[in-house]
Structure formats: C-alpha cells, structure tokens
C-alpha cells in the first residue's frame, strides 16, 4: 500500500467520524426539544400528586342507578 492510498483511507475515516458526530449532535438536539414539549409545566406537576391522592382515596360504597331505558341521547 502506497503512502497516497493510506492518506486517502485516513481521510475517508476522518470524514466518516466527523459526519457521525454531526449527525448524533443533531439527533440529540431534536430529542431534547421533543422532551421539553411533552413535559408539563412545573405548576401542573406540583398539583398532580394531590389530585391523584384524592382520587385514589375515593372509594364507592353505595352505587345504585335505576333508569328504565337503555336509549341514550348523543349530543
């Protein structure tokens, strides 16, 4: 293998590494943006545990509903 051939292979490898670094940087930035968009604001996060606790403490004891038709009005 000549010195010229070795230089070409080294250059190709360097280009491959650089392209990978750029590609993964772009992917990481996009994923970060998606995470930010789907995470609720802090105030909603703070309220959820209370409501969840109240809802989980809610247990029906008596549950009787008597109606005389199965028909429904879809509004």
């Amino acid at each position: 293998m000549t010195t010229g051939e070795i230089l070409v292979i080294a250059a190709a490898a360097a280009v491959f590494v650089i392209i990978n670094i750029i590609m993964w940087t772009i992917i990481a930035k996009k994923e970060k943006k998606v995470r930010e968009r789907t995470t609720p604001p802090a105030d909603i996060n703070e309220k959820l545990p209370d409501e969840a606790a109240a809802a989980s403490g809610f247990k029906l004891i008596e549950n009787t509903v008597i109606v005389h038709t199965n028909e429904r009005i879809i509004s």
Partner: protein, 255 residues
C-alpha cells in the same frame, strides 16, 4: 362518619312504563364521606319521559364517578352550586334540542342532594320534593308548579290549590322550557336527621303525619330499615290507588 342511603321505585298500578329514575351513591374519600342522592320524575304527559329522566340521572351519576373525585381537593360549595346549575342548564338545552329534532316533547324533574362530609347542597327543578325529617317534618324544596306560584302570589288559597285541575302543571322542568332557574340550598348535616327525596307519585296520597311517623330517624336507622319502610309506604300508596309512578330515596349521616 357514616352515610346511609337507600332507594326504591315502582311502576305503580296504572302506567305502562316507569318514567322515574333514581340514583344513590355514597363514597369514602380521603377527607371523609361524599354522597349523591337524586330523583328524576319523567313527565307523564310527555312522550319519552323515561329517556329524559334517565339522561339527567346518568349525567350526574357519571359526574360523581369520574369528575367529582378530582374536584374534591379544591371543593367549595359556591363553585359546586355554579357547576350544578350549569349542568342542569346544559341538560335542559340538550333535551329541548332533542325534542325539537324529533318532534317530541320530553321532560323531567331533577331533585337531589350532594353531601361532602358534614355539609350538603340541594338542587331542585320541578315538583319532586326533599323533606327533612328530624323532630318534625319540613319540606326543604319549593314546588315549581302553577298552583304553588298562584298561592304565593295570593291568587289562590292552599285549599283551592289541592283540588285545582292545574295542580300538576309545572312552571319549569328540565327539557321543556327554554330557560331553567334551579333552586339551590346549602346546609349542614345533623345526627338523627333523615332526608327524603321523592317523586310526586310517592307523596300525593300520604299525609305529612304518616311520612313523619314512618320515616323518623329511629325507624330509618339502618339501610335495611330504610328499605322496608320505603316498600311499606309504596304498597300503601298503591292500595290508595295512586296512578303515577312512585319513587323515593332516603339519606342520613351519622357524624
């Protein structure tokens, strides 16, 4: 704290279908107890009264199961009253729209109690009633009838109202009138007090003395007692040839 509730309904001796709907729900919550007790009397003179009463009861029952648990942490009665009025108005608009689309008239009364811990709210449209039974019997709703309004305006005596042919005519109910103005009252639950919600078919042929004596706190101390007393009174109503559907619910708190 403990809530006790029971209900009973009967088609009666004349009607081909029971147009009344009834719901009792009690729940244990992280702060105590909660309840929904409700009676809807589908309008006998209108077609599809059973559909109207069922829609209103289902709406409140669904609210109690799915939305109410999430409202409890920030519960306040002013907001609750506002929400109940909005719900009844939405249901009214829905039934009026359905009736217009299908060229039918359907309507229902809507009367009930929402209780949270030691406090309660009554909501009411129509001529179903809520009675408070303690050391006396008190009617805590106002009949939204033509004759009751005439009596209050001094145009008719209570005696005349009892025999007036328009005594069952309502001035407002859910599904018929364009606007409804639900009656809302707030109160505190007490020990040894039973609340009764009933359709007019239940109370027409029973005297206040009978209601007071048969449904006193002592005689309705357990769910089983409530059920047997309600059934006894329903059978009495049928023997006295009441022609309407008959529905009653009882509710009490042990604080």
């Amino acid at each position: 704290m403990k809530y006790i509730a029971a209900c009973d309904t009967d088609i009666g001796i004349s009607k081909k279908i029971n147009q009344d709907s009834v719901c009792i729900k009690t729940a244990k919550t992280s702060t105590g107890m909660a309840a929904l007790v409700m009676v809807c009397d589908g309008m006998g003179g209108l077609s599809r009264g059973e559909l109207a009463s069922a829609e209103v009861v289902r709406s409140f029952a669904d609210w109690f199961d799915t939305e109410f648990p999430f409202e409890l942490p920030d519960w306040d009665w002013q907001t609750a009253a506002h929400n109940v009025i909005s719900r009844l108005r939405r249901l009214n608009a829905m039934l009026v729209h359905y009736g217009a689309q299908n060229s039918i008239q359907l309507g229902t009364t809507a009367t009930g109690i929402i209780a949270v811990n030691s406090e309660y709210m009554t909501f009411h449209v129509g001529d179903s009633r809520i009675y408070k039974i303690s050391d006396k019997l008190s009617q805590i709703t106002d009949d939204h009838t033509y004759v009751n309004r005439a009596v209050k305006m001094g145009k008719m005596t209570p005696e005349e109202a009892l025999v007036d042919p328009r005594r069952n005519a309502l001035v407002q109910c859910i599904g018929v009138t364009g606007e409804v103005a639900p009656e809302i009252r707030l109160g505190n639950l007490e020990n040894d007090v039973t609340y009764m919600v009933c359709s007019d078919g239940f109370r027409h042929v029973l005297t206040e003395k009978e209601l007071f004596e048969e449904l006193s706190a002592k005689k309705t101390s357990t769910k089983k007692n409530m059920q047997s007393k309600m059934r006894e009174l329903i059978e009495t109503v049928k023997k006295r040839e009441e022609s309407d559907n008959i529905t009653v619910a009882l509710f009490r708190a042990e604080l």
